[in-house]
């Protein structure tokens, strides 16, 4: 990859960072436009695999960005896409959290916390719903429902649930 292309990639991810409300996955369509259609650094299969790998691997899903960068241009590519997607948003989050915490007793901030609480919780349900609905089939839905109830009502270790889900899938039941 030329230095010029590298700067273009880094710059584009810096911009996408500030647009990624709801997580980096929300700007994935634009990443596809740039990496696959415009710059031709990845093909469709590589692009989709990056997202699948990061979702299956432990850790934050934003790491799919590093998997894309790596497939496009090795370790340097991973460093530039990941640094690009993280730097603006983390700087903003850091500043906003300090600003908000220092003024947490003001009416506006109390109203923000109270008003956003039901939205945050509903957004979690929506996220789980969308993730599960990507794959059709009643066994898949049943597995999702069982995991939800176990997390809600019991203290079964989360890794045990993930392992059982993986086993059921490997056996071809899902």
């Amino acid at each position: 990859m030329t230095l010029e292309a590298w700067f273009a990639l880094f710059g584009h991810f810096l911009l996408l960072s500030l647009l990624s409300i709801g997580g980096a996955i929300t700007v994935a369509p634009d990443m596809h436009r740039v990496l696959v259609d415009q710059m031709g650094l990845l093909n469709d299969a590589q692009f989709n695999a990056s997202i699948a790998i990061a979702q299956a691997a432990p850790g934050p899903n934003v790491l799919f960005v590093a998997a894309m960068g790596y497939q496009a241009a090795g370790v340097l590519g991973a460093a530039s896409t990941l640094a690009g997607i993280m730097l603006p948003s983390t700087t903003l989050a850091f500043a906003a959290a300090r600003w908000g915490h220092a003024r947490r007793d003001r009416l506006g901030l109390r109203a923000f916390r109270a008003g956003m609480a039901p939205i945050v919780i509903a957004l979690l349900v929506a996220t789980g719903w969308i993730l599960s609905a990507q794959t059709p089939g009643w066994v898949h839905t049943l597995l999702t429902a069982a995991a939800a109830i176990l997390v809600w009502r019991t203290r079964v270790h989360l890794l045990i649930m993930v392992a059982l889900g993986g086993l059921a899938g490997a056996l071809g039941w899902v």
Partner: protein, 209 residues
């Protein structure tokens, strides 16, 4: 993992008085590393369990507060959460430690898997296992939401209004698939304005905070 004091409630109902703090920045780094490594298909469910129930660094209410800000701001939610919690406990060094813990080791894992994937992606068992794990991680996020829902009982908006706002959010995002930014903006402004009105009314009735 140290057990909470007797009678503190086994299913993680941390009162603000029984909360602990991280021992050091290293503690933040290590805790977030282990937390991230348990988070297959997303870290939020593990984060809630580890931070509120095992470590007891935050109450459920504090977790929801931090998550609210993390979700309306751009960037990966769990990374914003790590950053904010680290900063709350020990400034920018804490923020950096928590975020580095969340990302460093998982990054290495993802890069290794990226290299391996090309070789094993053809195996149906691998694809099947990924599907099963995906189903479980989706359920874990929903379960976390159900666990956090009781915090809404203390919400100044009242339970019916919370249910209405939450229901509308779910319908717009999950069923209608409208763009998150606009839904968040419209419902967020509405909900915050309603909350401000309720808080003002409550303030006029009883001036003590």
């Amino acid at each position: 993992m140290s057990e909470p004091a007797a009678g503190a409630g086994r299913v993680g109902a941390a009162n603000e008085s029984t909360l602990a703090v991280p021992a050091s920045n290293k503690d933040l780094f290590v805790t977030f590393t282990f937390l991230a490594l348990q988070g297959f298909g997303g870290v939020l469910a593990v984060a809630q369990r580890v931070l509120c129930e095992q470590k007891r660094w935050l109450s459920k209410e504090q977790f929801v507060d931090i998550l609210a800000l993390a979700q309306v701001l751009p960037g990966p939610n769990v990374c914003n959460v790590a950053l904010m919690i680290g900063d709350r406990f020990s400034g920018w060094r804490g923020a950096f430690s928590a975020l580095a813990g969340m990302m460093s080791v998982p990054l290495v894992v993802v890069l290794i898997l990226t290299v391996l994937y090309a070789q094993y992606s053809g195996f149906p068992m691998v694809a099947g296992a990924l599907k099963g794990m995906g189903a479980v991680s989706a359920g874990m996020i929903i379960g976390t939401a159900l666990k956090l829902a009781p915090t809404l009982k203390q919400n100044p908006l009242g339970v019916p209004a919370c249910a209405g706002i939450g229901g509308a959010m779910f319908v717009c995002v999950a069923l209608l698939r409208w763009p998150l930014v606009w839904v968040l903006l419209a419902l967020g402004v509405l909900a915050c304005a309603a909350a401000a009105r309720r808080l003002k009314q409550a303030h006029q009735v009883s001036p003590s905070p």
